[in-house]
Point group: C2
């Protein structure tokens, strides 16, 4: 049943979605809201009035207290919101707390603890391998045995709408000398991020516990400076080539909203170690769109991923690593098998060698100053339509000193 909220039906933000975020309005502190149709429901006063269990978690300036509260609270909150927003009898109570989405300013939805980025797309990893090692095996020996990942910089995570300054760093010049300056190969990476909640633990989390440990999903752009990354990355991995900024959407789509988006993933050969074995369907049929300015440059399908979110979570905890509410892990670049499904400009321009066309008649290999990157995504919802995930958007500003 659709919501009574005007315009909710068919908007991508009906009651089968209900993504959470943090927002401010003029003169009032940041607080938690849920998106429905063209509105944001102001949860703090509404839940206080209803004396809802843990109402105080919605008065916070981040989702972290709600993340701490854990799975049972997430479930009951979603059930309660579904009732309020579909039953006409609640309309008079709820309507005063619906704010037009254009009247609120979104904030970073969570204070991120540890941020891990994975490398789960076989098509992406294969493309990267072919670009950088054209004569070798494209996938490393470990790739089909475990989801390869690394830690990123939590403090550099910014919310959609934040400008990104072109970073400077060291790089190999064309004559093979080492230089310093603004990156010449600024890239985007279209990813999905998974937001962790529940009690802190330092025990392995089995794949079956994904739904209890992950509140939801958000779009993530893992900005990358390919020349800086290339020079620094051996042997300890990406560092300054990534740590200048990672953009996330303002709205977290509950994992519960993606129940109808679950899909079977490609068969994994060799069979994973027992700690990585998942019940199918372990994938999510989320279709991404990558926009640079007014050009739709790619449509990566998350259904094509090799390693599933449940496997990422099981892997990152199998060694007894800490897991805290507010931790974030991401898929790595989502790329599908087709050329137009590649989730990075590195792949779309095949290492910068094949410029691609833009709607304005120009071409790109990597991002130029002033370019705006927007990631959007949709997935099948429980009401038969498609959920629209919160977009992630950012514009490239010139390097600080113009080098």
């Amino acid at each position: 049943m659709s919501s009574w909220v005007p315009g909710a039906a068919g908007s991508g933000y009906d009651v089968d979605h209900l993504p959470y975020g943090v927002f401010v309005t003029a003169g009032a502190p940041a607080r938690v809201g849920v998106r429905v149709g063209g509105f944001v429901l102001d949860l703090a006063p509404l839940t206080a009035m209803h004396q809802l269990e843990r109402a105080e978690v919605f008065r916070a300036d981040s989702l972290n207290p709600f993340l701490d509260a854990g799975f049972a609270v997430w479930q009951r909150t979603r059930t309660w919101l579904g009732e309020l927003l579909t039953q006409q009898e609640h309309r008079d109570t709820v309507e005063p707390f619906l704010l037009p989405v254009e009247d609120v300013s979104p904030r970073l939805p969570l204070v991120v603890g540890d941020y891990v980025d994975f490398y789960c797309s076989e098509h992406h990893a294969t493309n990267v391998g072919r670009i950088f090692r054209p004569d070798g095996e494209p996938l490393q020996r470990n790739w089909r045995h475990l989801p390869v990942g690394y830690h990123g910089r939590s403090g550099s995570i910014v919310v959609s709408g934040t400008d990104v300054v072109r970073p400077c760093g060291q790089r190999l010049e064309s004559d093979d000398s080492v230089g310093f300056g603004a990156t010449r190969r600024l890239d985007l990476e279209a990813e999905l991020g998974f937001v962790v909640g529940g009690s802190p633990t330092a025990q392995p989390v089995p794949p079956a516990d994904l739904a209890e440990r992950v509140l939801g999903v958000l779009l993530l752009n893992d900005w990358s400076a390919r020349d800086i990354q290339a020079f620094e990355t051996v042997p300890l991995g990406p560092f300054l080539g990534k740590s200048f900024a990672t953009s996330v959407a303002a709205w977290v789509t509950p994992l519960a909203a993606l129940a109808d988006a679950r899909v079977q993933l490609p068969r994994q050969i060799p069979e994973p170690q027992p700690y990585l074995q998942v019940a199918q369907p372990a994938g999510y049929d989320v279709d991404l769109e990558v926009w640079v300015n007014d050009t739709l440059v790619a449509t990566p399908p998350y259904a094509s991923t090799y390693w599933s979110p449940a496997q990422m979570l099981a892997h990152l905890t199998v060694n007894g690593a800490s897991l805290r509410p507010g931790d974030l892990f991401a898929s790595g670049t989502v790329s599908g098998p087709a050329r137009h499904q590649r989730g990075s400009m590195l792949e779309l321009s095949w290492g910068g060698t094949e410029p691609f066309a833009m709607a304005d008649g120009g071409t790109r290999t990597f991002l130029e100053d002033g370019d705006q990157v927007t990631l959007t995504a949709s997935a099948p919802g429980a009401l038969g339509g498609r959920l629209r995930l919160g977009e992630v958007r950012g514009r490239v500003l010139p390097a600080l000193d113009g080098r």
Copy 2:
């Protein structure tokens, strides 16, 4: 002038040191203290009584509010403590707040934001290169151009005295198949960590600002599972081979206490990029000791490091990465040129091929269950003796399921 505190003179904890930490006593909440002689000075009630500027930062259960307060507050606090602890007139006021160190339980001194581990010792990087690539160039192309680093897992940082469970993970077996189980190559890494404070920023921090951005230094053991690390590490760097635990000392030695420990570092060729150029002396003459049970297995000299702390900080921020109070960056394994100065068992046993003798008549290549690792260190202080840095200690527990 030495402190009037009984036993402070010559203890390594006289007024030229004054390391900060967080502790609890029976029935009372965690709070900030400063170590002097065999005592911990309970700063919260003392500063409240004196109506000291920002006294509330010492009532916190971490150093983070003090880190937020910034350089000017650190300076004034140190001056004030020096006066209180040397001038006899303050003795009656201060003595009630001196708690015997054996009566307090230390806690993790800070909530770590982002944790970056570097690879700054030329001797260590050369040894590792020779062990893993005996026929190649030991140092990578980038090594003399920039301090190589990567992000570690903040949530897995534990305080000295915390047991460490042997982690499980995937590794190559001797027949070159892929297996899963408890690491067979559990190692220690003797490092120094640097604790960041001051206002959050996303601007490059020049090397000259080190003292204003770093409250102090602590010993750090970057536990490593070499077989897990070896299998996972290409191409994105160390992950589960490190993320199970990183141990830090309970006491943060102020950078101001190491003014007399500053030393000239080895000349850097090629000359670093301008953003990495430092005024000499940029090094610190801190002598580390690595103990496994009752055996002193190594004495790594931090004075032998190639990249200085000021350069690590400048490098990690040059791309506009965030810097927040509570961030931590570490030196990487400290190894000197001599065999007995190697700061990891990987190096001491040359990749496991050369077992070394223990005091009990046994030998080691890597750590065994039950082994206790203790790192200690000392440095010249302003009063002519040596400061003793807070030790970092941890015992290895068997893997969870005995595999």
